[in-house]
């Protein structure tokens, strides 16, 4: 059972912002509901007003514009992303990461915009978005903004979103080179659980290797120190050094899932594996 609240299905971006500003701290945006309704069920959140964004135009689906990358509606369910041919063929790392979220049932509801708006340090899609250098398109009282994903996350549960502002789209810049991405998620179980630690690696044809970490810092983070090591060398020693650099950047906490020490160890192990697999995938043809 949920406590009573008012539900409104917003018909436009402007109406959604207006409703949210009027509700203030008592208002919550709803997309898939797989985080919001859980927290309301557990009485961690008690909003008086729930504003459904699913009917707002531009928030559903994946559109591919030639030469301009990909635009993903923030309320698009993860399964739709995972099954989308443009996402699979060019941004496979995002499809792979989205596939590790929750269960099939959850992925039929959970949205990409919701996954990042909750700003969990363990958000599975965040490392992939960091590596594709996504732009987060938002709507709020001052209209439209574009926020680089690297500036979007501010801390556990905290984002750059202002009051009444919501994520409307996620833009992935065009990736001209072939690439191969790998997302390694360590959980207590192989499905449904949140990450203890996660590492994404994206190897690009031009020689660049990008690395991001999840669940081991207050926000998902990209590790440029590790990337720099791999710019000129990709031998076993360089991979070990890069993995150690990833570990040094990690600042995990101990919680119900794992200790800080275990997370640090696993960050290094997963980083080395992810880099190796990304390089091997690229060598085998990439995407």
């Amino acid at each position: 059972m949920l406590l009573p609240f008012d539900y409104v299905r917003a018909r436009s971006r402007e109406e959604a912002v207006d409703l949210a500003l009027r509700a203030g701290a008592d208002g919550k945006f709803l997309a898939g509901g797989t985080d919001l309704l859980v927290r309301m069920h557990d009485r961690q959140l008690r909003p008086q007003m729930v504003i459904d964004l699913k009917g707002v135009s531009g928030l559903q689906g994946v559109s591919c514009c030639d030469g301009e990358g990909l635009v993903i509606g923030a309320a698009t369910p993860l399964n739709r992303l995972i099954r989308d041919e443009a996402v699979r063929s060019k941004y496979g790392l995002l499809a792979e990461a989205a596939h590790t979220v929750g269960s099939l049932q959850i992925r039929n509801r959970a949205s990409l915009g919701g996954n990042i708006s909750n700003a969990s340090p363990a958000a599975d899609t965040a490392p992939a978005l960091l590596l594709y250098e996504a732009e987060i398109v938002t709507w709020g009282a001052s209209g439209r903004r574009e926020i680089p994903v690297g500036e979007f996350f501010k801390g556990p549960g905290a984002t750059a979103l202002a009051e009444g502002e919501f994520v409307s789209q996620i833009r992935l810049p065009v990736l001209k080179e072939r690439s191969y991405g790998v997302y390694l998620k360590l959980g207590r179980t192989s499905a449904v659980d949140l990450a203890i630690a996660s590492v994404a690696a994206l190897a690009l044809e031009g020689g660049e290797v990008r690395i991001a970490l999840g669940a081991v810092a207050p926000t998902p983070i990209r590790v440029k120190e590790a990337e720099a090591i791999l710019r000129s060398r990709k031998d076993e020693g360089a991979i070990r050094e890069a993995a150690a650099a990833a570990r040094r950047r990690a600042a995990p906490i101990s919680d119900i899932r794992a200790s800080k020490e275990y997370r640090l160890e696993m960050t290094e192990v997963l980083a080395a594996r992810a880099i190796e697999q990304a390089l091997a995938g690229l060598a085998a043809g990439g995407r």
């Binding site: 609240f5 898939g32 557990d42 699913k54 929750g102």
Partner: protein
């Protein structure tokens, strides 16, 4: 706040007036007496409340009834009854794929959704399809056996209609007042 909704449940259009905070699970169980879907965890982890919305499995504890307005909902009651079981249900019986039974309506609906999407799944695909459904009697092996058998049975019988509810004759409109 109350909402008038119209939902096609197991082939029949249902009109109801529901409060904002009514979950789809409560709407099905309390207002429509469709008690196959169960509440286990209430948080989207156990899958006991799994039903199909527009052909896709979802946790009905994490969907508001008002969000289902205009949607097609299929619950285990829409598959078959004791006299005329769905091939998935039949396969669960033949394989003794249940112990306490609490998770089974959800398991059956996840299996049904898989077979609609993918009539010839591999064993790994079956395992993935039910990975959002917990069974605490440790009956997974037989459940997977049952789903594999249901797929083979359907394969042998030729193309089957996707969900028997879809083939229902136009049913009487049912109107109920929900809410509290």
């Amino acid at each position: 706040m109350l909402h008038n909704i119209r939902v096609r449940v197991n082939g029949e259009w249902v009109e109801a007036c529901v409060p904002s905070h009514r979950r789809l699970l409560d709407f099905l169980r309390e207002d429509l007496d469709l008690i196959g879907a169960k509440e286990g965890c209430g948080g989207g982890e156990c899958g006991a409340c799994t039903v199909l919305v527009n052909g896709e499995p979802i946790n009905s504890c994490l969907v508001l009834a008002v969000e289902a307005d205009g949607a097609e909902v299929l619950t285990v009651e829409g598959l078959g009854d004791a006299k005329d079981l769905d091939p998935v249900q039949e396969a669960f019986v033949q394989n003794s794929a249940l112990q306490c039974g609490y998770c089974i309506p959800g398991m059956v609906m996840s299996a049904k959704a898989l077979l609609i999407r993918n009539p010839n799944p591999t064993r790994d695909e079956v395992v993935e399809a039910i990975s959002g459904n917990l069974c605490r009697c440790t009956g997974y092996a037989r459940i997977v056996d049952a789903i594999m058998q249901a797929a083979q049975a359907a394969d042998a019988a030729g193309p089957a209609p996707a969900g028997r509810a879809a083939g229902h004759a136009p049913a009487a409109e049912v109107s109920r007042a929900g809410g509290e």
